[in-house]
Symmetry: D2
Subunit: 466 residues, 4 copies
Amino acid sequence: MRVVMKFGGTSVGSADAIRQVAAIVKESRQNHEVVVVVSAMNAPDLRTTDTLIAAAHAAAQGEGDATAHVAPRLLDLHMRAAAELAPPDACAALETEIRTMLDYLSDLSRSIAVLGELTPRALDLFSGLGERLNARLIAAALRAAGVPAEAIDATELIITDDRYGAASPIMDETTARSRKRLLPLLEAGVVPVVTGFIGATRTGVPTTLGRGGSDYSCSILGACLDANEVWFWKEVDGVLTANPKVVPEARSLRVLSYSEMAELAYYGANVLHPKTVLPLVQRNIPIRIRNTFNPSHPGTLIGEGRGDRTARAVTAIKEVSMITVGGPGMLGLAGVAARIFIAVARAKANILLISQASSEQSVCFAVPLAEAPAAVAELRKELENEFSAHDVEHIDVKDSVMIIAVVGSGMRGTPGIAGQVFGAMGEAKINVIAIAQGSTENNISLVVSAADGDEAVRAIHRSFAL
Amino acid sequence: MRVVMKFGGTSVGSADAIRQVAAIVKESRQNHEVVVVVSAMNAPDLRTTDTLIAAAHAAAQGEGDATAHVAPRLLDLHMRAAAELAPPDACAALETEIRTMLDYLSDLSRSIAVLGELTPRALDLFSGLGERLNARLIAAALRAAGVPAEAIDATELIITDDRYGAASPIMDETTARSRKRLLPLLEAGVVPVVTGFIGATRTGVPTTLGRGGSDYSCSILGACLDANEVWFWKEVDGVLTANPKVVPEARSLRVLSYSEMAELAYYGANVLHPKTVLPLVQRNIPIRIRNTFNPSHPGTLIGEGRGDRTARAVTAIKEVSMITVGGPGMLGLAGVAARIFIAVARAKANILLISQASSEQSVCFAVPLAEAPAAVAELRKELENEFSAHDVEHIDVKDSVMIIAVVGSGMRGTPGIAGQVFGAMGEAKINVIAIAQGSTENNISLVVSAADGDEAVRAIHRSFAL
Amino acid sequence: MRVVMKFGGTSVGSADAIRQVAAIVKESRQNHEVVVVVSAMNAPDLRTTDTLIAAAHAAAQGEGDATAHVAPRLLDLHMRAAAELAPPDACAALETEIRTMLDYLSDLSRSIAVLGELTPRALDLFSGLGERLNARLIAAALRAAGVPAEAIDATELIITDDRYGAASPIMDETTARSRKRLLPLLEAGVVPVVTGFIGATRTGVPTTLGRGGSDYSCSILGACLDANEVWFWKEVDGVLTANPKVVPEARSLRVLSYSEMAELAYYGANVLHPKTVLPLVQRNIPIRIRNTFNPSHPGTLIGEGRGDRTARAVTAIKEVSMITVGGPGMLGLAGVAARIFIAVARAKANILLISQASSEQSVCFAVPLAEAPAAVAELRKELENEFSAHDVEHIDVKDSVMIIAVVGSGMRGTPGIAGQVFGAMGEAKINVIAIAQGSTENNISLVVSAADGDEAVRAIHRSFAL
Amino acid sequence: MRVVMKFGGTSVGSADAIRQVAAIVKESRQNHEVVVVVSAMNAPDLRTTDTLIAAAHAAAQGEGDATAHVAPRLLDLHMRAAAELAPPDACAALETEIRTMLDYLSDLSRSIAVLGELTPRALDLFSGLGERLNARLIAAALRAAGVPAEAIDATELIITDDRYGAASPIMDETTARSRKRLLPLLEAGVVPVVTGFIGATRTGVPTTLGRGGSDYSCSILGACLDANEVWFWKEVDGVLTANPKVVPEARSLRVLSYSEMAELAYYGANVLHPKTVLPLVQRNIPIRIRNTFNPSHPGTLIGEGRGDRTARAVTAIKEVSMITVGGPGMLGLAGVAARIFIAVARAKANILLISQASSEQSVCFAVPLAEAPAAVAELRKELENEFSAHDVEHIDVKDSVMIIAVVGSGMRGTPGIAGQVFGAMGEAKINVIAIAQGSTENNISLVVSAADGDEAVRAIHRSFAL
């Protein structure tokens, strides 16, 4: 079985963690072809990527030696880890490589200072450096652990357009290059350790993939290499049924469908953004979320299949405002929904939930608390004429609300789920302000007062014995 | 107490019905000042207004004598009723009046035929004639029953703009004229019998008020005359808890709030469109819906007050399609909701319900079955680019669904109502496809398969013991 | 030779004039096949078409007998002329026909009064009646003069769209119908006397062709019948070199090119609007403008050919404002010309002349005096930002100016013409405010102060010995 | 008298020229307070600014030592001149300064190469360097000639927005800084030698002013310092009556009005763009154009006044196309002028001249030859419907034409000028294709065939004895 696996965050943030990574890869390699994708090393006291970006900005402010105090710390961070993970000669070779890269950094920094500006293109040269350092360190650690490994810059593999800071891959070229470069290594029993987050344009200029970039890199390579599975190693035992801070008995789910994962993406840091795994979903490649620090736990397997006929998880969005536009003339008023959402878009407010019950007397929707005032202002402007004609009579805003979402792809088509959700609310004496359940979504969303939110989550978790 | 009351439909459709009307007015007059508003006489075998409109169209096709065979039938319809309701001399006077009006009709008809076209203005001259005939007949019936009464054309009272076929009242002038003309009659103990549906421009050209016109006439006069209550006499004992054809144990509601009535307006023929009663709601004038054929029943009283802390009624919209637009890139896609509803508006489709649950993966909404194909076509055009970018991946349509709405202004803020609604669905093993409950609405809407619809209505009615 | 000839205005305004028409037709018929197109009879004391239109409006105001006093006068007008032109029996037949038509008019009038409104479609029924009466009268006069003739309503021949009041012909159907109806008459030696101005839709509803309608009718028939020439009989000896009220020695031109005629169309009543003769120009059919009251004069022949190498005529437009938009930043300002003319179009002002000399510092143009204020207001709005940026600094308006146009298709390509025009201005000490000569136009336009206008016309006329 | 004077082009292009500059400044200083503005040194074999820009582009292509071979040549260019103009010790000091600046250049170059891209901001750092070098050289030359002088970077004086490459001055701050920095020097008898072309943002980032930048710098300083006159030293004796290559007897004009200068700006390299001198025109500060190499010649004085009552100069634009849009339906076609120029703007074609004579049959305008095909293509697209409706029938293009402009602010309002212009054309037997004279312009433009152009210029020059 061919597995592309990604390690990020604290999973690659210390020598201990990387030793763990090496053990996992070594173990996995016994049964599988393994490709590793890694993020930058983010130690608690030195977050590599943030540090690099800060240095780039300092350079643009004229600090030509912006990296002068950063470079030694980065060298030290990586070499201290190396010392624990690899033999001295390997460390020496690694140090030479890292010094070369840090010299380049210093060169970049000085150039930016001379020119006095930081372009998105120049920032991408900086911000992807952490991954390059870490890939080399981890490859050395793997070799020290007896695993043949080679660090590879994704600039060789992932070809993107030139939207610096948020580039998109060009899949056919990326596929060709990745297979040409990586398949021979896999055949030779070597584990490629590929930098996450970065790519390059056709002419070779480095780019970064934007938010969730390392996850995206891993998905791209998984798709290009026809992986049998793609594993994302995190710090938890998979996807949880609820936030354990709110629900102490929250537990990890064995399996999850792609669509359930997508529903959950909005909420927690530990889930994958649906767009970053699109290459895998399109090819129906199973995804596994596992715990670097508890590798014997099977984690959560995410795939096409349909889950149990019940709710699977319950989550919450806090700091939400509920806006309602209504009036006696809205019944049959052509295009008013469009105009409401045009106004909201103009205010650049994100729409978290919409609910218009069937009598057409009003439309209600939720936006983040901070974005509500602008949305309301734009609505008042847009609907001025309707106000004077009494077609629209009020725009109400409820500020202290929370959205609770109950997720489960199998609950769709299952009688009684909604009853159980709202029954739980009734028992807990929690008033439900608004409800939305879309027809293809595996999600019942309810709006409750902020004060009731945590208890609502617990009540649902309890009711479904999640 | 001053009461403006309206009789329409079958309440004024036969001699027997009109005798009943006379009895009601006579009885009411003992304690109240009464103003009567009437529709045209629609007998089962001769629907006056439809007949008049058909004749107008025939005239425009060149039939100069389009009314030649219509006029005698209308005369006969009204005079046969008159013969049962009024003494011979009153009948003779009435016949003279009706003949004059029918001669005018024939004149109109011939003129339209000569000119060969039917303008909206000319159509309004035709279509309001039935009310004029009937007001005269009913006034005669009242007098025969010993009630002093006078037929009055609303062209004297209700001043409108000149949008023929759908005119709007100009309230200040209408108030002045109505009070000047009607208050002296009321003081003199005379019951004015006013034509519904029609008005006139400032220069005296007759107009019609469009859909629900007689109800609107009654509301306008109720508001202008500061009525204490406004009564709409229908063929049922008030507003029902459900459609009795679906739920045999459906019963009439004693009281209802304005907003509950507005929620119910969308569904059944027996409820008032919120815009037609806006003049009353704005002035907080109580509305009563009563049964002409069961006048001892108190009917339903509609006012400002808040109902019980429970559901009040359950209704259904049939022939509905559910459209869902979704894809992995919709999360965070700016303005996509606006663009979806712009496309729907362009397709001239009415939006019956919207639901977007909180994960932003999709937006779903319901439109009438017949309007779905155009809406989908416009959506495909609008979102073409998003499709190619895989931001949007599917537009699904579910054709055989029904919307069930549970209404009750007191259920808002009451824990457990939603639980009870969905609990009822669960017990009945009915799958809920989508849910929407807006924050100010007194309405939980659920979408279920068409096959489950009637049973869903019954289950809810049963559960709440409506 | 086949000739379609049109008589309008005072040429058909009295018995004497019609006798003249009959003489002309009789004479022409000796050598040619002749089709006659006629306008309504406009006697000095009774302008038929205006009278009819006024009656229609009166009817809409409720005067059912609006035609009651008009009909006898129209009958009298036509019958008095008939008495002079035709024998008693023909007069009797004509009177019957005219009475029938006037009865229809009275019917129309009463119908409009009953309905109380006048639609464009109904107005067309009225306004084309004068042509119908006159065609019958003139046909009778021709027969009395020994010319076989038949009056024909153009509703049988000219098929149009349904833009009442300004309909456009559908040429292929019109050609088919005209040839089928008229060619047999011509073969039989009968002169068709066709009504100008009117046509009918495919379904037979009468229409009118709008401004210049009778000229247009004549052109349409000339084109449909492949006429060898089309003659327009007017009250002058052809197209004049200048307005004789300003220039006493103005004289008639022998020949003129189509494009010269088009240049002159803008100015005087005696020339044909280029769009009304487009059917002839497209088929290269020669046009002749002749004098009904001086038929021995050859008039002006208008055709494709190129005129002499000199100026041919000089004309003036009075009541003109000159607007200039300028500023230091206009040089190279993209799209400013477009935006200026967008603003002018929004103000619904007609542009009579544009001149922007080559340095791009300003654009100047002329509009009718009455339309200048709106144009200036729109310009100020449109160019607000350019004003603040000092790109545009002034919008000047000169109110008392006249445009003088010197026309001659042969003067293009002839050195010295412009010199002679402006030399004449110099000698007359007249200051030229602006100049425009477009590259394909046979026209030099100059703007002079209103006070200098007449003298400028005279000076040019003199200089070219026109 | 306070004079701000600018030397550019070949006036500062060699040691000889700069010696001449020094002599002029020395002489001027006897009677005036003098501020000098200078361009970069453009020797025939080494155009400084172009060389710098080329080096910047080379650096972005990765040539880190792009300036390696450029710097010595620039050093040599300036130091060879210095050796002729200044004593050895001054040369040594200058060399140190220049070397520092060239080192910075090399630094910039290396930085751009490291980052691999050239932003507009970075380009401005390069492209303004020539002025900095030259200001220092010229200040040294002045001092050597006994004139106390100080080189000043305009980055200290002229504050601009941050549109790199085409920045606009912020006048109030520029005024404050310029006066604070320069007035004390003037009082102390020191001549400031200010760099043209460059400025800086409020935060001190260097910018350039775009096209005509050094002229603009000089105008800005003239305005900020309330100069009595502003002199532009060129290579000719002022503004000429015509191009001496075409008209051997062309001569320099003594005086010229601002508006005449603006009219001439379009044509020759030796005249000032009206926007660059706007600060002077707004303050009514006289401008003088003088000849560096013939300083005893008074040159041309440009001011508010009105010139003689005749033509002043005649110029030509070559490589022009004349486009004419016409058709029988254009008369009265609303908004067609706007749509024509919208199409032309969309094609990004510059409009050099417009002429629409008064009959509204066509609009004609001139654009540069190279831009005509795109304009015509856009016109065909825009007017497609009008073509099918035969309202517009032709779009003609005449490719080999020239525009001749006769300029003179006094000729406006003077009878006979136009006559003389076109009389001259007639005598020379030159056909005038189109004419435009706008109402406030001091300009008669005529379009003639390219073959006739030079002769037309000569004929007019001769006729007016310019």
